[in-house]
Symmetry: C2
Subunit: 108 residues, 2 copies
């Protein structure tokens, strides 16, 4: 898989509020699939599992089996990657553009 | 449109390599649709226009008509927004986790 396809997959995985919420929930600690499903009481278990699968395919969640439980761990490295290589530089350029604009307005 | 839906739309727009490339091309200067289509010689004009439409709907590109030409401007504010509110904090947490891990390994 090329780096472009990897990034496509990560951005696609992040394009759902439910999936971003799952990652937020996993930020401080791994959680079992049961707990995660409980956090999304308005969604049926099957839907949450499908979202988890998309996150796993994008490398954002790593699952670990312990007995009958499935523990879901956040892997934030792909997020850091798109941050460092794409989002960060664009955000910095936006900030710099805004600063230049402010200077130009003030210099009038 | 809620903030969640807005973010969904921005991440979705960024989930295509061609669309990220268009934004990269617009980073330093606005370009006409004709020039952009020329930059993607392997794609037909109609496909590039569809990608531009997705970027426009996500607020990432603002089009300006000058006579018969259509100039496309990058609007990086939505990128800065997802950077500041979502990507940045997750990337920072990943860096902090890695630093703690390194410390733990070195303390052994």
């Amino acid at each position: 898989m090329s780096i472009h396809e990897e990034y496509d997959r990560v951005f696609k995985a992040l394009s759902s509020h439910v999936r971003r919420q799952i990652l937020d929930d996993l930020k401080d600690q791994p959680l079992t699939t049961g707990t995660l499903c409980g956090n999304f009481a308005h969604l049926d278990r099957c839907t949450v599992m499908q979202h988890l699968k998309v996150l796993e395919d994008a490398g954002l969640v790593v699952a670990e089996r312990r007995g009958r439980e499935r523990w879901n761990h956040l892997n934030a490295m792909p997020i850091q990657d798109i941050h460092d290589r794409w989002i960060g530089p664009h955000a910095a350029a936006a900030t710099a553009r805004l600063a230049r604009f402010k200077q130009a307005v003030e210099a009038r």
